[in-house]
Amino acid sequence: MTIYLDNNATTQVAQEVLEAMLPYFHDLYGNPSSMHTFGGQVGRIIRRAREQVAALINAEPDEIIFTSCGSESDNTAIRSALTTQPGKRHLVASRVEHPAINALAAHLAKEGYRVTELPVDGEGRLSLEQFARSLTPETAIASLMWANNETGVIFPVEEAAATARSKGVLFHTDAVQAVGKIPIDMKQNAIDMLALSGHKLHAPKGVGALYVRRGTKFSPFLIGGHQEKGRRGGTENTAGIIGLGVACELAARNLEKENTAVKNLRDKLENALLTRIPHSRINGDRVQRLPNTTNISFKFVEGEAILLLLNELGICASSGSACTSGSLQPSHVLRAMGVPFTFAHGSIRLSLSVYNTEAEIDFVIEKFPIIIEKLRGLSPYWEVGDAVCATFEG
């Protein structure tokens, strides 16, 4: 039995998505660029997929460029902004961005670009005033994630995009975690570019998209053939793109469920764990947050040990602890939020999807306290209790 509560890492390909994709591996394997009907018919299906993706975020189909993943979309957006504005050598991002932005920014800093990384508060929130102040005439692009992958905290990207536009700065958002979970309407905001990823919304891995607003100067990242109107070279991942289209249509249908049923299950799980397990807390703003995500910390125990005991029961989750990353430091998101070490090492992210059931959540609620109790029984800090915490949190 597998209880999958790690949907921010990746999701199951939906049955409908899988079925829609299957013909395009073996039977309809044509190249959409071909002149013959056999290939050309695939081109028509891709056109439909583009419409489906555009519809989910209320964009125009020609504003969608298919890519191989969220990271490619992010890299394309940032590089394009820098290439098309060679005089501007400053970029702005937050400290809690996904590595697709953070590591790229660090790389660009080495290339001589100036990078401003905006801090977040204890709840993982960004200051819009600080954001506005960070934009200068030298700023080529500002990039803020729509929702955080670890905590689910939602940034006010639409307000930030309006500010950026008023100052003549391009605005990109890594919306990989947000698309399909919360409503997004590109006709109602000033966001110039937006990255999304297939496998976070029940499409397969290996396909993503970049939204580029009409009229935005663009320079391709992957240079090659005329595919994607010359904006992204390389033969299309036809099956993946078709899967992404169907997944987006499905996500639009499930959006309400995501924000009612899934949210209710998440709330039930989170409240039960907080009530049943002493010395636990939620990391991040509980209001401005994705409906499917909870990041919860347990004092005196370590995240990897929790994960492996959950794993013994078939429960899949992830952790921001140092030991799971191999980096020796707890997650950069929790550190940026100033989460005390006592809590950061024992943090667990549970992320749900529409496929989780109440019975699964009840099982997790039943077993979780036993796991924490077992590990606290091993912990030298458990009996010492709050006396120790005081020295670390003080």
């Binding site: 990897e304 040990a305 602890s321 980096s327 020796l328 430091q329 091993l378």
Partner: protein
Amino acid sequence: MWEYTDKVMEHFLHPRNVGEVENPDGVANVGSLACGDALKLTIKVDDQGRITDARFKTFGCASAIASASALTEMIKGMSVDEAAKITNQDIADFLGGLPKEKIHCSVMGREALEKAIASYRGLPDTEAAEKIICECFGVTETEIERVVRENNLKTVEEVTNYTKAGGGCGNCHEAIMDIINRVRATAKPVEKPKLTNLQKIRMIEETIEREIRPSLRQDGGDLELVDVVGNKVLVATRGACAACALSHLTLKDFVQAKLRELVWPELEVEEVSK
């Protein structure tokens, strides 16, 4: 996901000797909440200096828990002197190995054991006076020197895997590299185990064949092993070497140096009369 051995998982899921010994004879606390792992080890020692009981409490990941559990199993029944010889590698071996990023868990076990023994022997805790190199994880100069020396470490990354030092802000990387260079510069050549005559002869033959003969042959020369008497290696020169006035130098500077390096440091090469 880490590749843990079955034994690590077994000790993690069913840890042995959890808790604290009553009225312990030796106590150790190592690590901290901030570092992400910590271990409290308590031991009971009888009149004969034998460890009769050992118990642990660990805050940390699966391999930290398994390392502590393994350690207590290993030392129970040992004399304190025997236990004092346990290395982090022994703990890792007991568990069938640890992922390289997790070796610091076994080092934490060895550190705790040492401290517990020191506390049993009534030795003072010297750590407070020592120089801290890695501020993020509170790792001392002595500790880094020790793992570098004992495990023949060459890179900062290896030191991080063994002690966590350098795994945080990275400000100490240069200091760690300095320690590595210093230790390696002063390191005594690894003491080679004593060889039997037979082993020595075989190794000399192999070394001549693999390392020496190909070079000599390039110059049209050759060499033949005649006999080995104690540390004296008796050889005869052949081909161009036999006629070469400089063959004496070749034998000392090249042949003897190679054999000393690869077989035994006290070997003397002598040419037998033609």
